[in-house]
């Protein structure tokens, strides 16, 4: 990477209450194009809430999120969310049909050849070519998440929002998927905002790490030397003061 690009998401003074309790307090944050940003923090620290606010799925109680200079107040097709739940796939569609789904129903009317080409590219990218005619109930958890990632990427959105997508996977599958994710990121240059509570995962994937605790950004870390044990200790220190 190295070259600094333009700001794609700008968060200013963002607050969110939940049952009168402050989940997020006056958050300020900028995300630059092409960044792989991990948000880590303890459970209940507001990570998912922040991601949902960026995606426009919920309304803020103060401050704003802007995407490419425009205020976000509803979900938009340039910021696609990948969820933790395996049931984010449609069980009545095969792997291929699930991936085609956003293209076939897109208001921009992709042509048949475009749909075939895009679908093929992303099926290959997540290494599911042999399983493209399988229904979700015939897939393992890892394959389901691969399908979900391909579906999210197929419309070539500017930003991928990932809400603990590997949180329910075993460690081996998780590692495999993390590597796939890095490959994809390098190929597509998509901006990724990735929420996790796993410090090692964040260090392995991200080039920027945000530590969210107590409703505020505790620390922002440039993660150039990935996977160092020192960094793990450092971050764990922030998380458990």
């Amino acid at each position: 990477m190295g070259i600094v690009m333009s700001v794609i998401i700008k968060i200013s003074n963002l607050s969110k209450l939940y049952n009168d309790r402050s989940i997020l307090k006056n958050i300020d944050l900028t995300i630059e194009t092409g960044e792989f940003l991990c948000i880590i923090g303890p459970s209940g620290g507001g990570k998912s809430t922040l991601l949902n606010l960026i995606g426009g799925f919920i309304k803020s109680d103060g401050g704003s999120v802007s995407f490419q200079g425009e205020t976000v107040n509803k979900p938009n097709r340039e910021c696609i969310m990948v969820f933790q739940e395996f049931d984010q796939l449609f069980p009545w569609k095969t792997v291929q049909e699930n991936i085609e789904f956003p293209l076939k129903n897109d208001p921009h009317h992709y042509s048949k050849t475009e749909i075939a080409a895009l679908t093929g590219t992303y099926i290959d990218m997540v290494k599911l070519h042999e399983f493209k005619d399988f229904y979700p109930h015939q897939l393992s958890g890892g394959m389901k998440q691969r399908t979900a990632i391909a579906r999210a990427l197929v419309t070539t959105p500017k930003v991928l929002l990932m809400d603990e997508p590997f949180g329910s996977l075993d460690i081996l599958t998780k590692t495999e998927l993390q590597d796939t994710m890095l490959e994809i990121w390098k190929k597509t240059q998509t901006t990724i905002v990735f929420v996790t509570h796993d410090v090692r995962e964040a260090l392995h994937l991200a080039d920027q790490i945000i530590i969210l605790g107590d409703g505020t950004v505790q620390q922002r870390i440039e993660n150039k030397t990935k996977d160092s044990e020192e960094r793990v200790k450092e971050i764990i220190g922030f998380l458990s003061p």
């Binding site: 910021c79 984010q88 069980p91 009545w92 109930h137 015939q138």
Partner: protein, 261 residues
Amino acid sequence: MQNIKAIFLKPYSKYVWIGIMLIAWEAIAKLTPVSPLAFPSLEAVVAALINSILTGDILLQMLFSLGLIFVGLVIGVLLSFVMSALSVVSPVFESFVDTCVSIFHPLPGIALLPLIILWIGTGSKAILFIIVHSVLWPMILNMTAGFKSIPVVYKKIGQNYEFSNAKIIFKIYIPASMPYLIAGLKIGWARAWRASISAEMIFGASGGIGGIGWYIFNKRVFMDTAGIFAGLLVIIVVGMLVEDFIFSKIEDRTVKKWGLS
């Protein structure tokens, strides 16, 4: 003993049981002092059935009944779809639909008969009204339950791609609630079937030859007990065919294939 037990565990065990029941029936008709007016032998029933097929209108009457049920089901499904979809979108409409369901669902269509005679008359329209009434409420219950069972994440996906509400309902909600819709359709079909037969037995011929209920009613008033059984036989056969060939095919192609059953 093990072999015999195995027979009853096969998919065709239904037919083995039917065979046993028929033998028991014939034995009772032949070997016990029951009046043939109360319990006709199988030959008499089969003879009555063949006679009704050759010289009577039983097949046309069956088609007439099935036609009415089909139209009633279509109207019922469409209405319940509109009402369920609106109640998913609007909480105000939802409370209205909930109220309607709790008022009308427990009300048997036949109990409405005196009012139907006054309002609609006694023709096919009245039977259709009873069929729609008997289909609508259980269908709404199933559809709204189906819509409510849909994972929240589906709605988020639809919003994420900026789909219209209509697209979310047709492309996501309907297939996602398919197991409930099929269950509702099965209940609706069974209810419509019963409603049309009982309504016909009370109303009589509505469109000239009438339906299968009217056939049975006529056999009853002319004391043709074998004919009554012939009518029942036709109803059972059609019911089984619909279950085995239509609904199980639909299930094979949808919920079973998708791993949702």
